[in-house]
Symmetry: C2
Subunit: 492 residues, 2 copies
């Protein structure tokens, strides 16, 4: 730091006594900086095991619903928290579809981890590391990670290790492609903010290109054909938002091409299969009325400009959004831990990974072991959130009882196991309409409503679930401006 | 469209009567779509010459301050407006620096062209084309353009022509690199929204990376060394915003690395050379107090991790922002039109290009011909805006008098020539401080103030200059939330 402190102060320009850089200038300690010093101190560096009086360390892999809810609930007077994730924010996934067409801004649905658990920014032993976990070493209570950089030209990714007292695997799942060729290359998923940004840029590009002279009529129709594969809540909500955008904004702002744009939703089975039958009829009618074409089919092949269905039909597209659910990620698949049916990490009723002491797994990456006799819970935000909340309380209890350090909570009483109670499902179908299904399971009886009232419930419920006041404020403001001024169409 | 209208309606899912795709399905008209039909109808297509009763056509190249102000002012009952530009929005450049650190959101400083001139979205003869102009054909009153696509895999860029009655060249300038090697590859300019996005992503990445275990102390210092080259208003404002971000947000949210982050501003001459001397002293003191190091130097070479000054000093950096002013773009340089001193398109006092009938040039791409005896106006938003406004009024007058069509306004009386009156300069230096210089030129006498009051003037003045009520509302809301909640730090 000495070069910096000693840097001659710049004097006011009128006196013309600028700091001149020369060979005696303290800035000179910079010279040969990048060639004489290796960027990384030690390949085996990292955070070693904790010792009293240090607090025990909780390591969280992932920053989705499960991991973030857990971190939020951890008592940081008992534990240090270290989060390892390739992104520094949580995404409020239920509102992601609305950002693709400009109803909401991207930043309104992203919450920095440092705001969810402030200790990560301020406590000396708590950190967020932008990195991927590469390997678990459960025998040594260690995780092996690799930093994420912007490329080898400026900084080569390096490896490091972190010792944990408690490890929480909350790394989520991957979008399913069912091994279909071309999905990863040409379709866009809808799971991260950058996906929504890509969809928006592509949609606006296609709208503009289809207006440029010289394009053929059929090519125009291809460019403006938006195909959504997968009729779950995400696919349906995105189709609804898209048809709202077309009916309200495209007609007004792209009036030259308004008759060429169409939305097709392809689903192999029924749309919204987890919802009440009445609600599904309603959703189907509502989407059809908004101009969304519902087609039953199975995709066989995805090419740059068209998809091929299993019966041989070619479906040209300009924008292809893929939302057919999730499956285990390759990180989870390769992990040497017992698995639950379906390939998720196997956990017991206290969300522990039985064969690995002090290791827990929550959210979409985990599932009950067959021995528990319980079914795998659906890959839903509310499941992940509830698990994170439960586990934070469990760990706080363990920590208070003095079991926070590695291998120290062996025969401690953990209290009641985790029990999931489904609070119901919601989905919006566009045109100020939504579905709210408050039944606890597909077979149970209970309230299920559709229409404007449930759209209002949908908005209010999500607004209160948004993590911070800042984003709650922004979401409300975004909704207001969209209502007053329409959606934004700058392609930035 | 027949395939679409005939598409069998989807029936409610409870009855299990989905639309099945098969060989008789109307979707089938899609088949072999992309192989049998060329995407472009005719290589020589485009918009041909206008004929009565069609309105005469104004073609505007560019969507910056000059072009957008012109389009806003055109009377669309007299003219059709066609805008050709590689971006579909105008950037409110004076506030761009604030978006890099999250004080403002990106979308708050971008205004879609369709909102600036609604006729472009709604009138049958007015268009926005996402394209680059490649060539002027002044003899045939035509411009040759090329569409911008997202790559040859889905759509090869195609050429088209547009006939104009009046052509306005408002394509702006390019950032100057003075032929220094590596600037384009490694430095980031600050002229477009995507530049601000890149700066923000890089800054947040470096903040996170410098916290990952294993990184050496010197590499950490390099990553967090933000170097700004160029001490004009943009460079000074960006440095001020950056030091605000460091002092308020980094200290709180990245407390582990807060002592490693530094800002250096390198300028070959004096900072803010167009401002009053007193203001420059004030700015220098203010920046130095906020921790910005001001260094006088000339950059010789830019490498991925360091810049080399002309005296041989190495300056390692993690983020390099280049704002050393602008010069003529290659499109302007290659143009076969008379030039003004400095390489801009030469114009007369009515902003006409004398050798080319019905062609005008405004904004940073144009300058007075030597024969006018007037000096080249500075490359400022207020010059561009004033020229756009003047020319819109001139063209409306010509149009009303029946001279709107090509070659029809030959000996028409144009009225008073364009006269530029400088309204003053403003720049913020961070910490709620700004400079306001209301002198009409460097030599003139007049009001020049600095401090919180001028910061307040700065904010109010820009807020009222923001183009639409929607963005005015958003900018105010952004400022409010930044004040209440701090800047956003999610890297999305």
């Amino acid at each position: 730091m000495s070069w910096f402190k000693n840097l001659t102060r710049f004097t006011p320009p009128v006196k013309h006594k600028f700091t001149h850089t020369n060979n005696t200038h303290p800035l000179f300690s910079f010279q040969h900086f990048s060639t004489t010093t290796p960027p990384v101190e030690n390949a085996a560096s990292g955070l070693g095991p904790t010792k009293k009086p240090d607090k025990p360390r909780i390591v969280v892999l992932g920053s989705g619903w499960a991991g973030c809810r857990l971190m939020k609930g951890i008592d940081t007077s008992l534990y240090d928290v270290v989060c390892v994730s390739p992104r520094n924010h949580m995404v409020f996934t239920p509102l992601l579809a609305s950002t693709c067409v400009g109803t909401l801004e991207f930043r309104s649905v992203a919450e920095p981890i440092g705001r969810i658990q402030p200790a990560i920014s301020t406590e000396p032993g708590s950190y967020f590391f932008l990195a991927n976990c590469k390997k678990l070493d459960v025998n040594n209570h260690e995780v092996h990670c690799q930093a994420i950089t912007d490329g080898i030209h400026t900084l080569k990714p390096w490896d490091f290790k972190i010792s944990y007292d408690k490890l929480i695997i909350a790394s989520g799942a991957e979008a399913s492609t069912f091994g279909i060729k071309g999905v990863k290359e040409h379709a866009i998923f809808l799971r991260e903010v950058h996906h929504a940004q890509e969809i928006r840029r592509k949609l606006l590009l296609n709208l503009m290109l289809s207006d440029v002279p010289g394009i053929s009529d059929e090519e125009k129709r291809r460019l403006l054909h938006c195909v959504v594969v997968g009729g779950g809540p995400t696919g349906v909500e995105f189709s609804g938002e898209l048809s709202d955008f077309i009916m309200k904004d495209v007609r007004q702002r792209y009036s030259h091409v308004k008759d060429y744009i169409h939305v097709t939703l392809i689903e192999a089975n029924d749309i919204l299969s987890s919802f009440d039958d009445r609600l599904r009829v309603y959703a189907t009618n509502q989407l059809t009325k908004s101009g969304v074409r519902l087609v039953r089919g199975t995709v066989k092949d995805v090419q740059p400009k068209k998809i091929v269905l299993s019966d041989g039909t070619d479906v040209p597209y300009g924008l292809l959004v893929w939302s057919t659910g999730v499956g285990p990620s390759s990180f989870i698949k390769e992990m040497d831990l017992p698995k639950a049916p379906g390939g998720r990490i196997g956990i017991d009723e206290w969300l522990r990974v039985p064969s690995a002491p002090d290791v827990f797994a929550i959210g979409d990456c985990s599932g009950y072991l067959e021995s528990t006799g319980k079914p795998t819970l659906p890959a839903l935000a509310q499941v992940a959130e509830r698990e994170g909340k439960y586990l934070a309380e469990l760990l706080n209890k363990v920590g208070k009882a003095g079991g926070g350090y590695a291998n120290s909570s062996g025969d401690m009483e953990l209290g009641a196991p985790f029990v999931y109670k489904h609070l119901g499902s919601m989905a919006t179908v566009g045109s100020y309409k939504a579905l709210v299904d408050l039944r606890q399971s597909k077979e149970a009886k209970g309230l299920s409503i559709a229409g404007f009232a449930s759209w209002f419930i949908w908005r209010s419920a999500y607004l209160t679930r948004v993590v911070s006041w800042r984003n709650r404020f922004y979401v409300a403001i975004n909704w207001l401006t969209t209502f007053v001024f329409g959606r934004d169409i700058s392609r930035i």
